[in-house]
């Protein structure tokens, strides 16, 4: 019974990791850009939501709804003004620029918000729970998992059933030919990063309600997100959800055996998957 409990808890944690990873997966899938500042962007989004909460007195969900368009705009401008300039055949410049962005974001947040750890007020939601029969689960972790599934479902529909998604995939295949179809690749890439920032806002909402955060925790979130993306297979959004679940379950299982093993178990699971399936569990046919 304890193992079922552990498995369920692990899946819930996996939902959070999948939310961390979905934006990263989307951006990588469309423009082959590895954003090393992704974790810091999640933390920055959490601070933006916190600011809205403190200034307006609204609850974190409504605050996130207000923050999302602002962060979409930030993502759009970031891509258009900075990241588009370094995209190309060489993968090193985007890595260097996003690494620099990561350092700048961490120090900027330290300056603005201090090193104190903060938390989004969840109004008792963090201690609420539901009895599912086999296991009692926290309401907030369950909402996290549901949001991750919903976010990935919506992103998939957008990619495969809308004109914007078609433009995303065409530009990802071949930006020059896409431009010959009247598509502006710079705009399409900026839309993708803007969209990724909306998913980052959702991730930040749950990160901030579930645990404390401070300006220094971004890089560790990036590692979990990255592992989820790689385990799932580069460029596959449902794969990213599965990847998040695997890392989450591995971590809870590890913690069940020995509390010190939580993080280590996640890394071991990641390495094991890489050993057996070097391209991840659900790789895209063509990469």
């Amino acid at each position: 019974m304890i193992w079922i409990e552990t498995l369920v808890q692990g899946l819930m944690l996996g939902g959070l990791y999948a939310l961390f990873a979905a934006g990263l997966s989307l951006v990588f899938g469309i423009m082959r850009l590895v954003n090393l500042a992704h974790g810091d962007l999640i933390v920055a989004a959490a601070f933006v939501i916190l600011l809205v909460v403190e200034m307006s007195g609204l609850n974190p969900f409504v605050s996130a709804l207000i923050a999302a368009p602002v962060l979409f705009g930030f993502g759009y401008v970031l891509q258009r003004a900075v990241l588009n300039r370094v995209l190309g055949n060489d993968i090193l410049p985007p890595l260097l620029v996003t690494f620099g962005l990561s350092v700048a974001l961490q120090n900027g947040m330290l300056e603005l918000f201090s090193a104190d750890s903060r938390r989004l007020p969840a109004a008792g939601l963090e201690s609420a729970s539901l009895n599912l029969g086999v296991s009692t689960v926290g309401t907030l972790p369950l909402m996290t998992l549901a949001s991750a599934v919903a976010a990935i479902f919506v992103l998939n529909r957008l990619l495969y059933a809308t004109a914007l998604g078609r433009a995303f995939r065409a530009t990802s295949d071949d930006p020059v030919t896409a431009s010959l179809m009247g598509i502006n690749p710079r705009h399409v890439f900026a839309m993708a990063t803007g969209l990724a920032m909306v998913v980052v806002t959702i991730a930040a909402l749950y990160l901030g309600m579930r645990s404390n955060f401070d300006p220094s925790i971004g890089p560790a979130r990036l590692i979990y997100a990255f592992q989820a993306v790689i385990v799932g297979g580069l460029g596959s959004l449902w794969g990213t959800l599965a990847g998040g679940a695997i890392i989450g379950v591995a971590q809870t299982l590890g913690a069940q055996i020995n509390p010190e093993w939580q993080i280590l178990a996640g890394h071991v699971a990641f390495l094991l998957v890489l050993l057996v399936r070097p391209r991840g569990l659900f790789p895209r046919a063509r990469d």
């Binding site: 078609r166 995939r169 065409a170 010959l180 009247g182 598509i183 690749p185």
Partner: protein
């Protein structure tokens, strides 16, 4: 006013000069063939017109507006469409999605819809859910042409549409060109197959080593003129 005009168009890839002062024009509704051997500068000319290779603004003029320095997407939104060499279908998109992506630059109503393209190339309707790259070369070329038509262009640029295709397929594709013309689009056809090109064109430009070596009406140019211009045994311009 010409639909498209190039004025002293020059182009280079780094140190290598590919075009030396090309003057050409396309009138509304006409079919212009651009012929020439490999490396004559035909594809470079199309790359310059479409903005893939940026130029001085005045070197390429579309309906009176200098477009030489515009990005390809802006040029396409002005009513130009391109069938690129090698088809360049999007592998992640199905046949139908490849066609729909062509409508991205659509500016208004026109004769070309998904239905009209399927009527022109019925095989595409059967294959519409397949990935574009799973089709045969000839079918891929049909998708590439249909994709360009979906924007209802005033000017359709076709780069080497017969290259690498079986003769029977080339015949089918060329059989569709008069129907495309009836839709009102002017066409520029870059082609190595001279006889095919002359069979559909109103006017012909022959390029050699980045210069126009022959220009004239397709029905007035003789085999000898073309032979001379194509192989460089005589270089004065005609017509």
């Amino acid at each position: 006013m010409s639909l498209l005009e190039t004025r002293g168009l020059t182009a280079a890839y780094g140190q290598f000069k590919a075009l030396f002062g090309i003057d050409m024009r396309v009138e509304p509704g006409e079919v212009v063939a651009i012929i020439g051997a490999n490396g004559a500068g035909k594809t470079t000319l199309l790359r310059s017109i479409t903005g893939v290779l940026r130029q001085a603004p005045g070197m390429v003029v579309h309906s009176g507006t200098p477009i030489g320095a515009m990005s390809p997407d802006r040029i396409m939104q002005r009513g130009v469409a391109m069938v690129p060499e090698g088809r360049r279908l999007f592998p992640s998109l199905s046949v139908e999605e490849n066609l729909l992506i062509g409508a991205q630059a659509r500016r208004g109503d026109g004769p070309w819809t998904l239905e009209a393209v399927y009527a022109l190339f019925p095989i595409l309707r059967e294959r519409r859910a397949s990935p574009g790259t799973a089709l045969s070369g000839g079918q891929q070329q049909m998708v590439a042409i249909g994709r360009a038509l979906m924007s209802n262009p005033e000017l359709l640029l076709c780069d080497e549409i017969s290259l690498g295709l079986a003769p029977v397929i080339i015949r089918d594709i060329y059989a569709a060109l008069p129907r495309i013309r009836e839709g009102g689009a002017a066409m520029v056809i870059v082609e190595q197959d001279i006889a095919r090109a002359l069979s559909v064109a109103d006017r012909v430009y022959c390029l050699m080593e980045g210069c126009v070596t022959l220009h004239g009406r397709a029905d007035e140019i003789t085999r000898e003129d073309i032979h001379a211009a194509y192989f460089g045994t005589r270089t004065e311009a005609q017509g």
